[in-house]
Symmetry: C2
Subunit: 135 residues, 2 copies
């Protein structure tokens, strides 16, 4: 995929997430990938996303900055949402929160094969109640 095509492909992936079309993840994610250093199947990746969406039903992935070069994609995502359940070790208290994610991907033949994600944990700490456990 050219950089232009990969950009479009990635934005289609983000649309899949925002429209909860999780059956379509297989068009974007390799059968086996590595997520923050941990091996993971596409099924596990899907369950991770489904869990996030259960905790945050109005989770919307807003692309703030997108940098594409060869098979590499880097994206700065902004979330403005209202968690209703536990998320990343924090408990929802019904309030609306804002946070960002800086995420790098490596695509192989058009499929996500590696992900490195950092969330703004300080923003979650400021806006949610901590349970005392990281998960």
């Amino acid at each position: 995929l050219s950089a232009v095509d990969l950009r479009t492909h990635y934005l289609n992936y983000i649309a899949v997430l925002n429209e909860r079309r999780f059956d379509d993840l297989r068009d974007f994610v390799a059968d086996e990938l590595v997520y923050n250093g941990e091996p993971m199947s596409v099924g596990q990746y899907r369950r991770l996303l489904e869990s996030d969406v259960r905790s945050i039903p109005d989770l919307y992935f807003a692309v703030e900055q997108l940098v594409v070069e060869d098979g590499d994609v880097a994206c700065r995502l902004r979330f403005d949402c209202t968690p209703v359940g536990r998320f990343k070790g924090f408990e929802a208290d019904g309030s609306r929160i804002e946070f960002t994610e800086h995420v790098f991907y490596r695509f192989r033949d058009g499929y996500i094969s590696q992900v490195w994600s950092l969330l703004d944990i300080e923003a979650l700490q400021r806006q949610m109640a901590h349970t005392g456990e990281l998960d």
Copy 2:
């Protein structure tokens, strides 16, 4: 700057940081920039870096992944270092730590005009003592 030139330029910037040639920052950083949403002068940016290096004398910026497109640079940095002073609200205890930073830059005419940085705060929490204050 082309993507190839901007990649080289950015790696030269990283070399400036690693070699502590802070007088050369003016070749890479705009007089006025925006850092994580806050306006900042190049002098303030320099003092931020100098403060990090005082807290972590062996701070070395290792580029793990670099994505360049037009005036945008995204970099995944890894640090393997031994803090001797307070860093990001955590106290040094003499142990070696590892953490990553995911940082996005916007360059204007070859100068950094905006920076969005996220550190792996969870990694710092696991490896350093928390002072109870964020800074």
